[in-house]
């Protein structure tokens, strides 16, 4: 029913209709209602952002959780037989990811206990926190407090219980912590480009997460990257010449790793996440960041500027990048897992949510794991590491002097350098022959 009041917002008077009938009300006295449920008072966060004062607390929360749940189900991120490791930095985004995964698990447990046949198991959840103090010494002061806080936070999120793995970033070099730290410092010191150093640390961080995940039997790694984070990544990738591999990084699923990475908060913006933390009283820990002076920081400032000019810019950026063609590994891989319940298997097949894991047609950079474009191959065949890397890593991470390459290679963690040897031996003829040899009737020498 239309209301004549000039101060009346859409939906503002509905709740009052039956009680008072519509009347001309002064703007200040108009009771505003949530635009979704039209019954509760909307929340105002007062952070100057968009959508402030439109939704009540419950609807706001269910909007955000709804996006998370939709991402999880439509991309088969977490299924009953999975063992999921949540990468937790203590900051808002991963805090929300952890919270939501926990709630999903609680619900699954409730259903399990209520069901008669107990056919669907409850997925397992673990938490990993990467300790970067070996790389950023300024962090070591607050690190033990931070870890204690993380521990108590994880403890509070039970039942169901969750294992906490505190992963020192130098663990990619092995378990001897002194030697590993030493190797990490040597490696970082040999990278002269500031941005290259930051990016190399990100790659090492991912390697350490992969290591702890696979060593502890996890088959999914949950990363809390939100839309805003991805928008910055789109621009940093563009300015670093990584346009080819960009589409691999921004999808909901990234299965080029041993333990596939899933991004359930990909469709949520930073503002929603901080508001949710505020609303639910989710505590976060902000470790003092090493001052960033490179390209990554420049891009973050640029995106912040664009957001001021237009609050939906981040979404547009990610939406543009989402129109790029993803890779075959941007889906959960098919596995012959007899533990996967039949109902789940049927559902995954029906919606084509998986891909055939044996279809490896891409070569990857050993440092950043980015798929390599044909145009990246160098004419200069003298160094295996140089040849194997993408052009961006060649410029910002590898040393510029050819004579230093060998030494640099020896500083890299074993996992990265072993990729190089694999790449070196990659011979497409042999590879293809391997794939079809079951069908060949003749011996190798006589075959086509």
């Amino acid at each position: 029913m239309a209301c004549n009041s000039s101060g009346c917002e859409s939906g503002g008077c509905y709740g009052r209709e039956k009680e008072n009938g519509c009347k001309v009300v002064d703007v200040k006295e108009t009771v505003r209602l949530c635009v979704k449920c039209k019954s509760n008072e909307p929340m105002t966060f007062g952070d100057g952002g968009s959508d402030d004062g439109r939704f009540c607390a419950e609807c706001f929360r269910s909007n955000v959780y709804g996006k998370f749940r939709l991402a999880v189900t439509s991309h088969a991120m977490i299924t009953p037989s999975d063992n999921v490791l949540v990468a937790f930095s203590g900051r808002s985004s991963s805090r929300v990811a952890l919270q939501f995964v926990h709630e999903l698990q609680v619900k699954a447990l409730k259903n399990y206990e209520a069901s008669r046949d107990r056919s669907l198991p409850v997925f397992g959840v673990g938490v990993a926190f990467v300790d970067e103090s070996a790389a950023y010494p300024s962090l070591s002061g607050g690190m033990s407090d931070a870890i204690a806080w993380v521990r108590s936070t994880v403890l509070s999120l039970s039942p169901p219980e969750k294992d906490l793995h505190v992963v020192p970033i130098e663990s990619v070099f092995g378990s001897d912590s002194v030697e590993a730290r030493d190797r990490l410092v040597k490696l970082l010191d040999s990278v002269s480009d500031e941005t290259g150093k930051e990016d190399l640390l990100l790659h090492l961080k991912m390697l350490s997460l992969q290591k702890v995940a696979s060593e502890n039997g996890y088959n999914r790694l949950v990363v809390g990257s939100c839309t805003s984070r991805l928008a910055s990544h789109v621009l940093t990738a563009t300015v670093k010449g990584r346009g080819y591999s960009l589409s691999a990084d921004i999808q909901h699923v990234d299965a080029r790793w041993k333990v596939p990475i899933v991004l359930p908060l990909r469709d949520c913006v930073w503002q929603e996440i901080t508001r949710l933390c505020h609303l639910d009283g989710l505590k976060t820990v902000e470790l003092a960041r090493h001052p960033q002076s490179g390209i990554n920081d420049l891009v973050s400032s640029f995106v912040a500027l664009l957001q001021e000019e237009n609050p939906s810019r981040e979404c547009t950026i990610v939406r543009t990048a989402a129109k790029l063609t993803p890779f075959y590994f941007n889906k959960i891989p098919e596995t012959d897992d007899s533990c996967v319940p039949m109902a789940t298997q049927r559902r995954l097949k029906k919606f084509n949510l998986k891909y055939d894991g044996s279809m490896t047609t891409e070569a990857f950079c050993p440092i950043c794991n980015g798929p390599l474009n044909g145009s990246d191959s160098s004419e200069d065949e003298s160094d295996a590491l140089y040849d194997a890397c993408c052009s961006s890593c060649r410029f910002q991470i590898l040393p510029q002097e050819p004579s230093s390459l060998d030494h640099f290679g020896s500083l890299l963690p074993h996992h990265m350098i072993s990729q190089v040897k694999h790449h070196q031996k990659f011979d497409s003829q042999t590879y293809l022959r391997e794939k079809i040899k079951d069908c060949l009737l003749l011996d190798d020498e006589e075959a086509v």
Partner: protein, 364 residues
């Protein structure tokens, strides 16, 4: 990038000799590579890289008539000079012309046109000038008086594109070259990402566009840095080339300014990032099905268009009817960004990103 590229951070102190010839004293740090370089080597490598871009991309064939879009600004003036020089030195066999568009901007275009007229004499290249007033009945001054300083770049860009095509037809040339440099193309890549234009994103890094149309356009400066275009005349002539160097008086509000500022900051941190942006643009995985809109002709004027009326006719119609917002922003029912349509089409990126498409004739 060459692996021997000098990084200024690593240099202990300035080397005493030019990186390239090792004979002469270096006088500048090359913006693209930060190499310490002497005057002669700079203009040699500058010209050589452009020659390589032309040859490696097969931009021209011998005997072709080529029009140089000449605004009187630094890019097109240097382009005219370098192209006529390379044409002579490497015997490209081209017939070169200058084509200039008068948008009718007092205190800006009238001055820069004087420059082009001088270039005609200096380089011995025949000049053709077309004006918005003659073609459309409106000058940019008139347009800005009507619509203000928002979206004016859209009008100018759309009109200029068509004007250049008409001029090219009048001169009966086979190709049009423009002075778009690496900075311009990098800005356009960024802008298209920011604005969600995946179709333009897939086309904007091509060095030649519109090959299947009547007037292909190429950008020989695709890999040339703006800073180097500014430096070049000083190295060549120890003074500025005769060109007009003021910004368009209507430009400050263009959205492109955001991208331009960012790229300037980026260049300071990492000069090669400009080329890296272009590389990314070339490498983006964009399905070919998303690229081309339906090709047709404008019902009103016969120009190529993907809609019933070409953009220029739509805008003109709006102006003539006193409805200047017509043709600005997205069409109804297709809007994606709520409430912010007007800002979407500000900058003149249409000039650089739309390519000439197949069409009947340019008889208007």
């Amino acid at each position: 990038m060459e692996r021997g590229e000098a990084k200024s951070k690593k240099a202990g102190g300035p080397p005493r000799l030019c990186c390239i010839c090792n004979e002469r004293r270096p006088v500048l740090k090359r913006p693209k590579t930060l190499q310490q370089i002497c005057r002669e080597c700079f203009y040699e490598v500058f010209e050589e890289e452009i020659h390589q871009a032309i040859v490696n991309n097969g931009l021209f064939k011998s005997g072709e008539r080529v029009a140089i879009g000449a605004s009187g600004g630094k890019d097109s003036t240097v382009l005219a000079y370098v192209l006529s020089e390379l044409n002579r030195r490497y015997s490209y066999g081209l017939d070169l012309f200058l084509l200039s568009i008068d948008e009718g901007i007092t205190g800006y275009r009238d001055d820069s046109l004087e420059t082009v007229k001088r270039n005609e004499l200096q380089y011995g290249l025949p000049l053709q000038i077309l004006s918005y007033k003659d073609l459309y009945g409106w000058t940019m001054d008139d347009i800005v008086k009507m619509i203000g300083l928002k979206n004016n770049c859209t009008f100018c860009g759309v009109f200029r594109r068509q004007a250049l095509d008409r001029g090219a037809a009048l001169l009966k040339v086979d190709k049009l070259v423009t002075g778009h440099n690496a900075d311009d193309i990098a800005e356009t890549v960024l802008l298209n990402i920011l604005r969600g234009d995946i179709a333009r994103l897939s086309r904007c890094t091509s060095i030649t566009t519109g090959e299947d149309g009547p007037i292909p356009r190429c950008k020989p400066f695709k890999y040339t840095y703006e800073k180097e275009i500014v430096i070049y005349p000083f190295c060549c002539f120890k003074s500025s080339l005769d060109y007009f160097s003021t910004e368009c008086i209507y430009s400050p509000n263009a959205y492109r300014g955001f991208a331009r500022e960012f790229i300037k900051d980026l260049e300071r941190l990492r000069p090669r990032a400009i080329l890296d942006i272009i590389k990314s643009g070339e490498d983006f995985r964009i399905a070919t099905t998303t690229k081309m809109p339906e090709q047709g002709t404008c019902e009103r004027c016969g120009y190529i268009s993907s809609q019933k009326w070409c953009k220029a006719c739509v805008l003109l119609d709006g102006l003539n009817r006193g409805l200047p917002k017509m043709g600005i922003g997205r069409a109804r029912g297709g809007g994606v960004n709520g409430g912010d349509h007007k800002k979407e089409t500000k900058a003149g990126s249409t000039v650089k990103t739309l390519e000439s498409k197949q069409c009947g004739s340019l008889d208007f």
